[in-house]
Amino acid sequence: MAEEMLEVSVWRGAAEGRFVAYAVPRRANQTVLDLVSHIQQRLEPGLSYRFACRVGMCGSCAMTVNGKPRWTCRTHVARVAGADGRVEIAPLRNMPVIKDLACDLAPFFDKWSRARGRFAPTQTRTDDFAPVAPASIQRQAADAGIECIGCAVCYSACDVVAWNPDYLGPAALNRAWTLHNDARDGAHTARLAAVAGDAGCHACHSHQSCTEHCPKQISPTLSIAGLKRASALAALKGEI
């Protein structure tokens, strides 16, 4: 029997570019990243893309697959290829494309730092462990968002980022929310000040595109709703 082939269109170029179609043999349990690797290894050595772990941990392999942002190492071809055997692979949206499938993630991570996504320690190594009750509301809120792998899938899915390039975006805000719920962190008020307003959580439309696409089943929308309440209250009290 003849090998079943897939028609894989891949973006070549940067902001300006075009889709180039490659024929890739279909295999059992093949992932979208397998398709890209096949093309790079056998057909087009100059193709640029990123990956590292191949098991959904590092967050570096995200691309736009048939119009939707996805982690490609854990997306099976069977889930995205139609009966016609076509797959279209493009770089993520909302970030400058460096080349082919590789985006410049600097603006994405700059926003994490603008949202004060860094832990602000309050204790030293000589202090005892901070007691954090696993059942406390804060701990559970932090748990809900903590597994983020920084893949930028949500950021790519968010229309508000496309409309307002200053918007901090779902991942940075989700990170801020987990820290806001960390009892050991000492920058809660400063962080609320950093995430409030028109470029921050209050610009979110709550339309949940981020939540729909997050491969880790995190709901940045929920985290942002928490930040909206907390920072609006802080603004009302004059704290920020």
Binding site: V160, N164, A194, A196, G197, D198, G200
Partner: protein, 112 residues
Amino acid sequence: MTDRLGARLWLAQRASAAMLALCVAVHLATMIYAVQGGLSAAEILGRTRGSITWLAFYGLFVLAVAVHAPIGLRAILREMTAWRGRSLDLAAFGFGLALIWLGLRAVVGLFR
């Protein structure tokens, strides 16, 4: 930089939305009731004229609209156009004032 204004506008918009939910419900229920009862415009005016309750209710309605609409308009314009900054804030504020002026004129018309 703290965006205190953005945070407070958001709060004001939520609060006015809550108020509007109530006002719109009462307004619609009253309209349906009035239409089914076959009230004429003159009869309706007969009920609203001199009524402090209706004056207060529709006055509140207008104020809630005047808070809610300009904030939403400002957000839409920020997203869909390149208009930002003080001039946009002032334009939205002016739009709110216009809504108050037009709305309260209509409300007073029902009262007098």
